[in-house]
């Protein structure tokens, strides 16, 4: 995640192959919007104290059920907490879940996908089978069952569950990409040179797949964010914690929408949506970058040749 921040501020910092990416990002408006949103959330997560004067957002210290006002920008909950403060402090956990789970899932995807493709033969068949099985088994029911039975609904459990269920999609993509790369010349030459397999994989092949890996990461982060929010919403997270999903859980159980406190429901959901959108926008921009055919077409006043029906 911090890698992205670095990219937008200084191209020269990256020494990886494909640094033309950063220039391309700057050109794409979608990526800019996405990155700005992400940046804002990151800042809020790191220094929440800058954005609100409340230090303990879950403490019951205010009059319950107040509407929005100068003192409480989004009003207060039915227990007497400031909604804006909860929103601000909740950013950190939601962002951490998305990024950490996304990261680990990506690492797993890359490892499995690349290994399967490069080794080929029986290891490939076995790994592909495992990947497909994980892909197909409906994960949310599994998550619900697992999260319920693990008893303590702590962060670690949620993270493990997200990683275990989120890696398979990316693994398939990595494998497909690796298969197509396997016979390219630069890899062939590395093999001829006598380089070790691990070197070839990690130092030669992977760097060319950076954009795919980033795309997989963003997809995994999005998946983790939405699934974690969903889990917390239906009550399988830790109700004592501060995160957007937990806020949604509380607002739902206190019937916020029906009892005249819609902001309590709208605000955290909107934040989840915004963060998710930022991931999606950046992802979309990466699609365009890696596939030139997708780049936005400027309308030109060129007469199109009429195709006559034969």
């Amino acid at each position: 995640m911090t890698g992205l921040l670095v990219d937008t501020s200084g191209r020269a910092v990256t020494r990886r192959r494909g640094s033309g990416l950063t220039a391309a990002i700057r050109r794409s408006r979608k990526a800019q919007v996405g990155l700005v949103i992400l940046l804002v959330f990151c800042i809020v997560a790191v220094v929440p104290g800058l954005f609100t004067s409340v230090r303990h957002p879950n403490a019951l210290q205010f009059t319950p059920r107040l509407g929005p006002s100068g003192e409480h920008w989004l009003g207060t909950t039915s227990l007497g907490q400031d909604i804006w403060a909860q929103l601000v402090y909740g950013t950190r956990q939601s962002l951490v879940i998305a990024v950490v789970a996304g990261l680990f899932a990506t690492v797993l995807s890359v490892l499995v996908g690349v290994t399967a493709a490069y080794l080929g033969g029986l290891p490939d068949d076995v790994l592909s089978m495992i990947t497909s099985v994980f892909l197909v088994i409906p994960t949310f029911p599994l998550i619900i069952i697992f999260a319920t039975y693990a008893g303590k609904s702590t962060l670690i459990v949620v993270l493990i569950v997200l990683v275990v269920t989120g890696w398979s999609y990316g693994a398939n993509q990595m494998r497909a990409q690796m298969l197509s790369l396997r016979n390219r010349e630069f890899l062939e030459s590395a093999r001829v040179r006598g380089e070790r397999r691990t070197y070839i994989i990690f130092a030669e092949a992977l760097p060319t797949m950076t954009s795919l890996i980033v795309a997989i990461f963003l997809g995994a982060a999005l998946y983790s964010l939405l699934t974690a929010a969903g889990l917390q919403f239906i009550g399988l997270g830790d109700p004592d914690s501060s995160s957007w999903g937990t806020m949604l859980y509380w607002s739902e159980s206190q019937s916020a929408l029906q009892t005249g406190m819609p902001l309590w429901s709208i605000a955290p959901g909107l934040c989840v949506a915004l963060l998710g959108v930022s991931f999606a926008l950046i992802n979309y921009a990466f699609d365009e970058i890696s596939n030139p055919a997708l780049r936005p077409v400027r309308r030109r006043h060129v007469k199109r040749a009429r195709v006559r029906n034969t």
Binding site: M129, V133, V136, I137, P141, Y149, N172, L226, I266, G276
Partner: protein, 331 residues
Amino acid sequence: MRYVVRRLGFFALTLWVALTLNFFIPRFMPGNPLDALRARTHDRLSPAALEQMLTSYGFKPHQNIFVQYLEYLRNMFTGHWGISIGATLGEPVSTIVWQALPWTLGLVGVTTVLAFLLGSLIGVVAAWRRGGRLDSVLPPVFVVTSALPYFWVGLMLILVFSVWTHGWLPSDFNYDPDLLPEFSLGFIENVLKHAVLPAATILIASIGAWILTMRNNMITTLAEDYVRMGRAKGLSNSRIMTDYAARNAMLPNLSGFAMSLGFVITGSILVEYVFNYPGLGYQLYNAVQNTDYPLMQALFMLFTVAVLVALLVCDFAIAWLDPRVRATGSR
């Protein structure tokens, strides 16, 4: 043929893995049916009575675990899914499932297929009219909608169309409780009215992904040489669009559809939860909350089978559309 065999083999293997997981997870986690039943009966019954009740409901906790496993597999396949020990203590699981199934198929199934077809169609058209107004507006809008959480879309729709309009569109249930199910116009109208918001939620939240992937695939395909060849040959636009481009662009989309069915099920569980729609997803949530082992196991198996069947159908559709697959036996 080889392709068919391979896919069926994969189907069987995955089903077996899912069933085995399904069998072992509850048994490795804390708690057991005896405790669950004890809590359910508020501690009133003696241990002997509880054991008798459990046996009446089909549990034989002291049996060898391997024997239990084989019996479990056999029961799953023959439809002997046992009796619920959750909040609906005593009701046969199959009754609960058959009651809930048509609602999930109707709501989630129909809407998902609709979203897929509609999304693909829009994607094709958007790609075709590259650079047009449609194409510059749609992608950003749908990128946004594809990242929205299912349940939040549901909540917002409830807020706007149900709370603010004082109940113009109902936000819960599949039909009004005081109506009796029958094939009358009034009843069907009521069912449809209750289905509008949940269906809209699924549509809004999922269509974006289809539109975008289809559009991207189409654009990539349109840049291919054979399409240019078609144009050079002088074929009509619509012909190129359907026979040349769409048909090929559809393939990765179809396989993507199959892969993402797991996510669709996730979404459906959340939607049914938000709208209290008594389908399979809602029953699964309740089963887990009430530690209702028999119901949980049956539902989990059903979900897995549903995804696998859909995957199989998609695979065969791809094989039908793409002769290369038939020839080589793999993609």
